[in-house]
């Protein structure tokens, strides 16, 4: 019996083997991509679930708190305890802790909402927001000075969230910056085409070793009830991230410098024309509104 000639030559077999190898690699890559997509979906679902849990838990905590503060109010208004007594002091402490818990819950609720709930975006004049935020924050920190140091952009964003970001940064400066602390707010493009919104204060600054830590949930660098909830800067960072950017603490020779970046898709106009050639100092007044402006000075 004669040996039959092979159906395919060596070259053809080599090509087939190579094709098989390529197909195998492509299949492997497709599988990996599919697995990665599933992992991403699982991660997104777990993240959504976690945020929904935080929202529900925070919301449920509000109910006992309403009751707790209500009864404290009744005890105080009925003068059940003698003024200056230990019992009266205990009631004051219960109330103070109740209010602190209320602030914590509110901040957690806000944090869980950012990015989870679609919010109405509109053109938001940052300079106007700075004015309103200054008015709010200087009620608690009357010596805080807020200076608009350059033209500020109009952002395409949720007005509430931008207001929250600016208010939190200013409150942070008021809380930690000491008497008469000044915050200068400027805007500039960065090398990646993002807009940098810079908050430079004249306070004691933050140790660079804590630059990342301060944005973590519940992180506080000082003890004491005046130190806020430890959620404010986490909220700021999440807001900046929802605007396609981020928020960092940059090295600064004096004071603290917080920088929020915003993606071009969230910037309607890089600056407001009226603000382009002046800077405005506010102390509890709206920036950019001449009648309420405490002081106007030339751009350095």
């Amino acid at each position: 019996m004669s040996e039959s000639a092979p159906l395919f030559g060596q070259d053809e077999r080599d090509v087939a083997e190579r094709l098989l190898l390529i197909a195998g690699l492509a299949l492997d890559r497709a599988n990996r991509a599919h697995m990665l997509e599933i992992s991403n979906q699982d991660l997104a679902a777990a993240n959504d679930e976690l945020q929904a849990f935080v929202y529900s838990a925070s919301h449920d905590l509000k109910n006992p708190l309403i009751a707790l503060l209500g009864y404290v109010d009744l005890l105080k208004s009925d003068n059940v305890f003698e003024e200056g007594s230990e019992a009266a002091m205990f009631i004051e402490r219960i109330e103070a802790n109740g209010w602190f818990m209320s602030a914590l819950i509110q901040d957690l609720l806000e944090l869980s909402r950012i990015g989870r709930i679609e919010e109405h975006e509109e053109p938001v004049d940052l300079e106007q927001v700075v004015g309103t935020a200054s008015e709010t924050v200087t009620v608690e920190y009357p010596t805080l000075q807020v200076v608009v140091g350059s033209a500020l952009p109009t952002l395409l964003a949720s007005r509430t969230r931008v207001q929250q970001l600016v208010t939190n940064v200013l409150a942070n400066a008021g809380r930690h910056g000491g008497e008469g602390v000044e915050v200068v707010i400027t805007a500039e493009p960065d090398e990646h085409g993002l807009t940098r919104i810079v908050f430079q204060d004249t306070g004691p600054g933050v140790d660079p070793a804590h630059a990342r830590r301060i944005f973590r949930l519940f992180e506080r660098l000082e003890t004491g009830s005046s130190d806020g909830t430890g959620i404010g800067l986490t909220i700021c960072r999440k807001i900046a991230q929802s605007l396609g950017g981020d928020m960092v603490l940059e090295d600064s020779s004096a004071g603290a410098r917080f920088v929020a970046t915003v993606a071009p898709t969230h910037v309607v106009s890089p600056s407001t024309p009226e603000a382009a050639d002046t800077s405005t100092t506010t102390n509890g007044h709206a920036a950019g509104r001449p009648a309420l402006t405490a002081q106007t000075e030339s751009t350095p």
Partner: protein, 149 residues
């Protein structure tokens, strides 16, 4: 001659005993018209009351309802849907009074025909003021229909 005070019957649906206490107290302190306040503890009881079932067989229908959302057995949105889909009950104004500020809940409540949506304030003074405003609006400013028989 002393003018006869108008009487407004308010049904409060609230499962939290403490919140019920504060709501009733704040409404009583608000003054104005004479309020007849009835309270129920969950969504099923709201419907028993409105359909005069069991212990509520002889109760008159309320002029208005203050409705919590998160309640056992039947939640506030389910109850609202039943009320606003029943021609015999839908004319009764329903104000949702809840601690939920979820946009989904607000949209759902108005979508089902709720007449107002009120957030329970955490601060006692704010809650009192809020309920005084609600009471004044619904019992003095607004003209309410006679409750259905």
């Amino acid at each position: 001659m002393t003018p006869v005070k108008k009487t407004v019957r308010v049904l409060i649906a609230e499962d939290n005993e403490d919140h019920r206490f504060f709501i009733v107290r704040a409404l009583r302190d608000a003054g104005g018209v004479h309020l007849e306040i009835e309270t129920v503890n969950d969504g099923e009881e709201v419907l028993d009351y409105l359909y005069r079932r069991g212990a509520y067989a002889d109760r008159p229908r309320p002029h208005m309802i203050l409705l919590d959302l998160k309640m056992p057995r039947r939640d506030g949105l389910e109850v609202l849907e039943v009320i606003k889909n029943d021609p015999a009950l839908r004319s009764i104004p329903v104000s949702v009074l809840t601690s939920s500020d979820r946009p989904e809940d607000i949209d759902a409540a108005y979508g089902l025909g709720g007449n107002s949506y009120l957030l329970k304030r955490s601060d006692p003074a704010g809650l009192k003021q809020e309920l005084a405003t609600v009471s004044e609006y619904w019992t003095e400013a607004a003209v309410l229909p006679d409750p259905p028989d």
